[in-house]
């Protein structure tokens, strides 16, 4: 029957058959077009499989990995060589406003009622009117929904709210939020280090500001979820 012969075709293809069986299959193949076609199809599948390319994941998984490694305490301290480490945040690299100022970053964040301009060489964030800003270095401004002069305080408050509500949240959700925050922190650090090399680069400053805004939004969302959890 065709079915019985077909069952042997893969083993025949892979050279797994005994000499006797192999001869019988070959004799059958000489007479059976259908089996010959099937054999070629199986060969094509095997070849296609062997040619499959390896693809890196769409997302960069390194952040999640290094976070877990840092949590085990076995990483060299040198991995976190920049930024403040908030108390209780293991392995999280953060960027604060004083750091940005010290690095001479030019950054503009606009919220209703307050406008923040960080200027090279300044020791304090400088408040500016929008008119004065428009004459400043051609930096892109990012609109945010919070008081930018209080950025670090806003972050601290939200992290506290998340911390207090952490026990009420599903550990899976906590892990996801922590990973996302780590992703954002890492992006902020990349942008910050790039800006150190090119402090007036308007793409970089807008990118950093947008990432800082993203962090606040995520923390706001996390705090809301934590408060709602019961």
């Amino acid at each position: 029957m065709g079915d019985t012969w077909e069952q042997l075709l893969s083993e025949y293809l892979d050279g797994e058959l005994s000499a006797v069986d192999r001869c019988e299959v070959e004799a059958h193949l000489a007479d059976c077009t259908e089996c010959r076609v099937t054999l070629e199809e199986l060969r094509a599948v095997a070849r296609r499989a062997a040619a499959l390319e390896n693809q890196a994941p769409e997302r960069d998984l390194w952040i999640g990995i290094v976070q877990q490694i840092a949590a085990t305490g076995s990483a060299e301290p040198g991995i976190v060589d920049i930024g403040e480490r908030r108390a209780g945040r293991r392995g999280r690299i953060t960027v604060s406003l004083p750091q940005l100022v010290a690095a001479g970053i030019v950054l503009v964040m606009l919220s209703a009622g307050s406008t923040l301009l960080l200027q090279p060489g300044g020791s304090e964030p400088v408040m500016q009117s929008e008119a004065a800003l428009s004459q400043a270095a051609a930096v892109q401004a990012v609109r945010v929904g919070f008081d930018v002069t209080e950025y670090d305080a806003v972050i601290a408050d939200l992290e506290l709210a998340l911390d207090q509500g952490r026990d009420r949240l599903d550990p899976n959700t906590v892990r996801v939020l922590e990973q996302s925050l780590a992703t954002i922190d890492r992006a902020m650090l990349d942008a910050y280090e790039a800006l150190e090399q090119d402090p007036t680069n308007s793409y970089l400053s807008a990118h950093l500001a947008a990432t800082m805004k993203r962090k606040v939004e995520l923390l706001q969302r996390a705090a809301t979820i934590a408060r709602a959890a019961s």
Partner: protein, 184 residues
Amino acid sequence: MIGLRNRPRAADAASEAADCALAASGDTRAFERLYRKHVARIHSLARRMIGGDMADEVTQDVFVRAWEKLGTFRGTATFGTWLYRLAINLILGRRAVLGRERERLSEGDGILDRMSYPERSPELGIDFEAAVGRLPNGARHVFVLHDVEGFKHHEIAELLGVTAGTSKAQLHRARMFLRRHLER
């Protein structure tokens, strides 16, 4: 017992050995270099064996475990081989749990089916890889290990805890299904 594909060239081995030593003493930047070099292979294996949903998480677990066990890596095989073996063990350990998950999810759960196989470049291979993903667990594991990764049936039998005969039958089943999904 290793797959036949993707053996690293001799020239890379020296710098990789250096990175291994650094990583074993706590240098995460060195470990990141190792990660970047091997993640495509590990992730592709995870994705094909257990599906896209869990592949990211399992890949991370592989590297975290590799970091933890670096102290036991003697260097008798290449790092890639050692890592690969670790990945196989971890993935096979997971499949028992995840196999049940997949069966439950595949009962008409269109949301997850649609999400599991996003489009990706290169253009070739989308339909074929997706078809591999649709194979039932047993056939898919055997197919990936044999035709993609290059293991022999007796090796697969040992890895999966089945007989060589079962492995051969599953492989044939898989190929018979997949021949309809070759492009062009």
